[in-house]
């Protein structure tokens, strides 16, 4: 593989605004009095509660157990008492069930997993079971259970670690790769061992030269190749990353394993290393708190269940009222209307953006400039699909392959008429799936 940075077709180049927090070392957030842990933190089935109100729990103790294969367990972020099993404000804006834990301040580990120090020679099945037991999910944003990806039903020849972090503002993965390089690479090696592969590729965008240098320095020891990538959004999208690194196209509606690849996030890799070598389940993560209104942007290691209001307080609060509060990056993150939402396994960023940055959907008519067509990384026609959705012609939208849309938002970002393209596609996808479900019922 050559040293030349790799790229994919299409995409946009937003101002990355990472300078706000890129040089800030990760700080560990102080212990709070209360954590509100959202129970359903993964894609797939929600885990089932195994504690009840009033129970005493130790740090790392099982709170909810996995229900089925595509499900992950949940562990206590600290030691204390389960004081409530109530609904709380979830990241989608709807109320979700959560566990409130009042900390006892001792922060005592319960009986964590047995550390597997000799992981280089451990059975792959044992390692995979550890990944599942530790409740590790895709920490880049989607929250897909990691062990499911490690159980491909098709032959796999490439393991890819996703360190692209193409979302503007976010620097959590960047800092992780700089500060915990060894952990990331160990995680990669564990993934490779589970999959029966000798090597792994780690793709990092060029705007993180310190991370690339650090990784390259140590990569040889773990048989990992470091590949720099062009700075181009959405470079971190699974399908685009696979194309950039291997030239393979994941079929529409398909999975990376259809082209012999498995993609894991770097933060998940570090979490796996922690779970295997130290025996600690996934109860914390690095999250960037940033944005122009934030007094002191930076990166923190938060326990799961830390309310956003506390996170913003740690960052010194805000200088002025922001227009939006986002979980995740500005391109794919979800807007919040409450500060009670808590940090989850896939919360890569807490972003506050000022009113100047907020896009106003004035939605002028489409002038057919074709910029969305050029920007679309999936090579579909956003402008035409938008027309179909506006006329509620979801059948037409489906013909135009709206289901291939990865909702990266490149089209809405670039549109000079400020059309709400991404929202329209979301609607179309929801309608098409609902229609399919109805048909199956009949």
């Amino acid at each position: 593989m050559s040293d030349k940075p790799r790229k994919f077709k299409g995409g946009v180049h937003p101002n990355d605004s990472k300078a706000l927090s890129a040089s800030k070392p990760v700080q560990t957030a102080p212990l709070l009095e209360k954590y509100t842990v959202i129970i359903h933190q993964n894609i797939g089935a929600p885990p089932e509660l195994v504690v009840k109100k009033g129970d005493l729990v130790k740090k790392g103790q099982l709170l909810a157990k996995a229900t089925g294969f595509v499900s992950v367990p949940l562990h206590a972020p600290t030691s204390g008492t389960v004081t409530a099993l109530e609904k709380c404000h979830g990241p989608t804006g709807l109320s979700v069930p959560a566990i409130e834990i009042t900390a006892d301040g001792k922060d005592e580990w319960g009986s964590p997993f047995e550390p597997i120090t000799d992981w280089q020679n451990a059975e792959p099945a044992v390692l995979k079971q550890r990944v599942a037991d530790a409740g590790i999910v895709g920490m880049g944003g989607a929250g897909f259970p990691s062990h499911v990806k490690l159980s491909p039903t098709k032959p796999v020849d490439t393991l890819i670690l996703n360190g692209a972090e193409c979302e503007p503002y976010l620097t959590a993965d960047h800092r992780l790769m700089v500060e915990q390089t060894e952990d990331v690479l160990r995680g990669a090696a564990i993934f490779a061992r589970i999959l029966g592969l000798k090597t792994a590729i780690i793709g990092v965008e060029e705007n993180k030269p310190d991370a690339i240098a650090k990784l390259k320095e140590l990569a040889g020891k773990y048989n990992v190749t470091v590949q720099s990538l062009h700075v181009n959004y959405p470079q971190g999208a699974e399908k685009q990353l696979i194309y950039a690194l291997t030239g393979r196209e994941v079929p529409i509606g398909g999975l990376p394993m259809d082209v012999g690849c498995v993609v894991q996030n770097v933060a998940s890799a570090a979490a796996v290393a922690e779970a295997v070598i130290n025996g600690h389940p996934s109860i914390e993560r690095i999250t960037t708190v940033t944005g122009e209104p934030v007094v002191n942007p930076g990166n923190w290691r938060f326990r799961l269940g830390t309310p956003i209001s506390k996170a913003i307080e740690l960052a010194g609060g805000v200088k002025y009222q922001p227009a939006k509060l986002l979980l995740g990056g500005p391109m794919m993150g979800t807007a919040q209307n409450s500060l009670d939402v808590t940090v989850m396994k896939n919360t890569s960023g807490i972003l506050l953006i000022p009113v100047e940055q907020v896009s106003q959907y004035t939605s002028e008519p489409c002038i057919r400039c074709g910029r969305c067509v050029e920007a679309c990384p999936m090579d579909i026609l956003p402008a035409t699909i938008s027309q179909a959705v506006e006329n509620e012609r979801f059948d037409w939208a489906e013909q135009l392959n709206v289901m291939a849309c990865i909702e990266c938002g490149s089209c809405s970002y670039i549109c000079p008429s400020h059309r709400p393209l991404n929202q329209q596609f979301k609607r179309a996808k929801a309608e098409i799936l609902a229609a399919k479900r109805n048909q199956q019922k009949k």
Partner: protein
């Protein structure tokens, strides 16, 4: 003051806006695009004033203001918000219309043209983004059919003499061709020292503007490339096999409205295909029709007709040039196995 800074201020949750992602925008707007195209037309406008004097400036001013006025009046009459003239699209249509008129065009032709362009060509279909035909060309063709003699009498260029307003009329290079008059020299064609519309004389000025448009990514290179390429190819072949029939390709490329047509009219975003392959087909079609009209047809010039005709085909081209999405080929291969 010091107290204020020690208190950690949290955002007011009730004022947080919720919306769908993405939450940042590229900063491109319709008016920015229109203004850039207007800037790209500046060299051609300056060249027009240089060759045809202040009369050219008058035509341009009348058409631009006229189009904006019609836009506002139409919106007023149909009880819609009247601020749409600010996006610059009406001004651009006006300037493009002026580029399609002679410097000697009387004031009422300019006003009537504005009415036809904005009223008939654009607003009747629903305004910006909905017009199937290039509004400036709709007006030009309507005027050409309605007032053939007025629209085909051209002022003789008078470089640098701004105030000279001689009523001398001359033939355009292409009309000269049809009527077997002596041909203009290639260098005159290139610099623009020939009779014709304001915008169809100086190939140099238009090339500068076109290069600007391409550099700013405002037009697709496929349209001018395939349009001009096709005209050059067909006229070149025709000249090769029968030199009596038509002059060499270079003459065809530089003369008439091909340059402005290929760079400014055919590339109009609203009325040209969105896909790259569609743009190639669009340019090719324009080129074929232009060459056929020029070489074998009754009119000396066919650029406007060809673009209008291809405008009508744009939805069809767009429909049949939809590419295969990312990851599509593999599905097909797998199902074939």
């Amino acid at each position: 003051m010091s107290e204020e800074t020690t208190v950690v201020q949290l955002p007011d949750a009730t004022k947080l806006v919720v919306s769908n992602s993405p939450h940042i925008r590229g900063g491109e707007t319709i008016s920015k695009i229109m203004v850039q195209v207007l800037i790209a037309l500046l060299p051609a406008a300056i060249a027009a004033v240089w060759f045809f004097g202040l009369a050219a400036l008058e035509v341009m001013a009348l058409c631009t203001v006229g189009c904006m006025a019609v836009e506002v009046l139409w919106k007023k009459a149909t009880k819609q918000p009247t601020d749409s003239w600010k996006d610059g699209s009406a001004a651009l249509t006006g300037l493009l219309l002026a580029m399609n008129l002679s410097a000697g065009a009387p004031w009422w032709i300019c006003i009537l043209g504005s009415l036809l362009a904005i009223g008939l060509g654009k607003q009747l279909f629903g305004g910006l983004g909905y017009n199937p035909f290039n509004p400036a060309l709709v007006a030009r063709v309507a005027l050409l059919v309605g007032f053939p003699s007025l629209m085909t009498s051209w002022v003789v260029p008078n470089p640098g003499k701004w105030l000279a307003c001689d009523a001398l009329t001359g033939a355009t290079p292409l009309a000269a061709l049809k009527n077997h008059y002596p041909l203009a020299s290639i260098s005159d064609l290139f610099y623009g020292n020939v009779g014709g519309c304001l915008g169809e004389t100086s190939a140099l000025a238009l090339l500068i503007g076109g290069a600007f448009l391409l550099a700013r990514g405002l037009i697709k290179w496929q349209i001018p490339a395939s349009f001009i390429g096709t005209v050059a190819l067909i006229s070149g072949l025709a000249h090769h096999f029968n030199p009596e029939l038509t002059p060499p390709a270079l003459y065809h490329v530089l003369a008439g409205g091909l340059m402005i047509g290929a760079f400014f009219m055919a590339t109009d975003m609203v009325t040209s295909p969105m896909t790259a392959n569609g743009a190639l087909i669009f340019g090719f079609g324009c080129g074929v029709i232009t060459s056929v009209i020029r070489i074998w047809g009754g009119y000396p010039e066919g650029v406007s007709f060809s673009i209008l005709f291809m405008n009508a085909l744009t939805p069809l081209i767009d429909r049949y040039t939809i590419g295969k999405p990312f990851g599509y080929i593999r599905i097909k291969k797998e199902t074939a196995q």
